[in-house]
Amino acid sequence: MADTSVPSVGETPFPPAHEGVPSLRLRNVSKSFGAVRALTDVDFEVYPGEVVGLVGDNGAGKSTLIKVIAGVGPADSGEIFVDGQPVRLSSPQVAAGLGIETVYQDLALCDNLDVVSNLFLGREDRSFLRTLDENLMEYRTLEVLRTLDVKLPSARTVVSSLSGGQRQSIAVAKCILRKAKVVLLDEPTAALGVAQTKQVLALIRRLREQGLAVVVISHNLADVFEVVDRVVVLRLGRRVASFDIKNTTPERIIASITGAEFGSLLTAEESNGNGLQGGK
């Protein structure tokens, strides 16, 4: 179970901080849609206090893998472990019950409600005669937002008037309130401006500081390099590489995303520098 060596191309040893039991571990997970094999024997693992970037071209199987982990589209075969215990992620409720929360690109916020109502939607604190305990909820909201270092005009601001970065923070805070252990972020910086992207990246670092296991799916390698500890690359439904971010370059990651010959790509694209896009 503590066997953490996953042999694949370009593999570098894990940093010592991540020895131990992974928060979430997938082994030999496969999934097919009819004749199409979306995932083939994929291994995946994320440790507490680690941010893993999941990258790959379109159709590489990122979304399918996320759906497997979120319980939306269960795997056909393979084993899944949460904190070392074998589990079956058969539905989103089961996944949430095990502490796996997903923030989708659309954030799933009610624009007409305020921050407090959104954070506690479906899990309201109640008091006297089962009425809403607004003050306790507001208090807990402020506590959670403080740990994430989020700044707002007020906890009673209507969500529609917040910026994109603040909205992302609210969606993440929702996961924290539900005592998530593993947080999946689907394209958290897509459609955000420069300042807002910085805000969200800071938010991800704060999640790591709190010892959560974070999985970031992103097309933007610049963002990936700024915040993740490790990058897992999928290509055509297989895990082709896992890079320690300290010992790699965007060029090497792109090479394994596209499956290009390593040397030829490096010479062809070297001049493009750090901001390469990992796929279209």
Binding site: L109, S117, N135
Partner: protein, 417 residues
């Protein structure tokens, strides 16, 4: 409970949570237009009402603002108001119920048939009517929420079917006189008024409870270290409410007192205001009206909420039918043609969005007052139905246009509710 206890003790240490997160300097200075679309949205509506009232007061040589006319207006308010309250619930979901007027009439007929033809006591006939309304609403709700038929089709078709059913129940009669004393006493007799001690006492108790609630909330927020309104602002708020309630009660008491039907209307508004703002159920109605997908993902049973709301709406319509039958001391086979749009229009004029998720139970008060003041005032001016209908239609269109414009402005600026 223990969690709350724990919070109380930690609150002393954690005063900084508020300061760390809430940054008042992040609040943009809002333009007057934004304010009028947001918190002060009731002001244009109130101004319209005052204009309407003043106009009729002058053109009818002071007939409009007599206690007698106001008392009559209040009794008219009850039916439209109670139906409108149900419509608000449905509108908050972003749906619409076009069958409310037919359901009201149908249930009134059911009650009249039970009490007059079958000779059942009112204590049975009225609940039968309410249950009939609930069943109709349940059917509407299931068709909308489970079968996923658009609500306007379900309820439009329903309203035709229900008006057929009520003709069937009337056996071809056009009028069925209601003689049952208890039913008539609800709104149709000279004694249908609360005794003075209740007419003054109940609103007074409500205002006192409201004041206690605000002050308790203030102390609790202070204890948890949350930002509070200043105490003087809370006092001003209480005083304004007390003055409004006091003025209304004085107006009623100077004539016959508070009509039962008005007491029922305001009791229901209070009840649904509490349900909408203080319970999870109410919160989930707003959520489902704002973003159905997010609400579903939060683990909320959206189908159940839709069914419950349609059931409540039709039950309220049934109650309105009972009140109407009592006031007319008869039920008719013809459905009041303006009742449906009066009720939905009143909700929209009061500020409930046709697009869902925005509005308050109190919206119905101003909305119904504007619509009925127009009707009442034009009648006092001896204008014919032709003018009345044109004016009312124009007012409804203006209200809906305002709603659409507000929504578009919000989508553009991304602000406010």
């Amino acid at each position: 409970m223990s969690e709350i206890q724990q919070k109380k003790t930690t609150a002393v240490v954690d005063q900084s949570a508020v300061a760390a997160v809430e940054r008042p300097e992040y609040v943009r200075r809002r333009t007057i237009g934004e304010l009028l679309r947001g918190d002060l949205g009731f002001l244009p509506v109130l101004a319209t009402l005052i204009l309407v009232v003043l106009y009729f007061e002058f053109t009818t040589n002071g007939l409009f603002l007599t206690s007698r006319n106001l008392s009559f207006l209040a009794q008219q308010m009850a039916e439209t108001g109670v139906i409108g309250l149900g419509s608000i619930l449905v509108l908050l979901l972003g749906e619409i119920d076009l069958s409310v007027a037919a359901v009201a009439q149908l249930c009134a007929v059911v009650m009249a048939v039970c009490s007059e033809r079958l000779g059942l006591p009112a204590i049975v006939a009225i609940p039968v009517a309410l249950v009939a309304g609930a069943l109709v609403g349940l059917l509407n709700g299931i068709l909308v929420a489970v079968v996923r038929v658009p609500s306007f089709i379900v309820t439009l078709a329903g309203s035709i079917a229900y008006s057929g059913l009520l003709l069937f129940l009337m056996f071809g009669q056009t009028t069925l006189i209601v003689r049952n004393d208890f039913i008539v006493a609800i709104a149709g007799s000279p004694v249908s008024f609360l005794p003075d001690y209740l007419g003054v006492g109940l609103p007074a108790v409500a205002v006192i409870l409201y004041a206690i609630g605000l002050l308790y909330n203030y102390t609790r927020r202070r204890r948890l270290g949350l930002r509070t309104q200043s105490l003087s602002r809370i006092v001003v708020q209480i005083v304004i409410v007390a003055i409004l309630v006091g003025a209304a009660i004085t107006a009623f008491e100077s004539y016959n007192g508070v009509p039962y039907s008005t007491a029922i209307l305001f009791g229901l508004i209070l009840l649904f205001w509490l349900i909408l703002t203080k319970t999870s159920f109410g919160r989930h109605i707003y959520a489902a009206g704002g973003n159905v997908e997010a609400t579903r993902r939060a683990g909320i049973n959206v189908v159940g909420i839709r069914i419950a709301v349609f059931t409540l709406c039709s039950t309220l319509a049934a109650l309105a039918g009972v009140i109407q039958a009592s006031r007319n001391t008869a039920v008719y086979s013809a459905i009041n043609p303006t009742l449906l749009l009066d009720a939905i229009g009143a909700a929209v004029i009061g500020g409930v969005s046709l697009f869902g998720g925005r509005g308050s139970a109190w919206a119905i008060v101003l909305g119904v007052l504007i619509i009925l003041s127009l009707e009442n005032g034009l009648t006092l001016q001896s204008q014919g139905t032709d003018i009345q209908q044109m004016v009312e239609g124009a007012v409804l269109v203006i209200a809906v246009v305002a709603d659409a414009l507000i929504r578009r402005a919000q989508a553009r600026s991304g602000s406010g509710r």
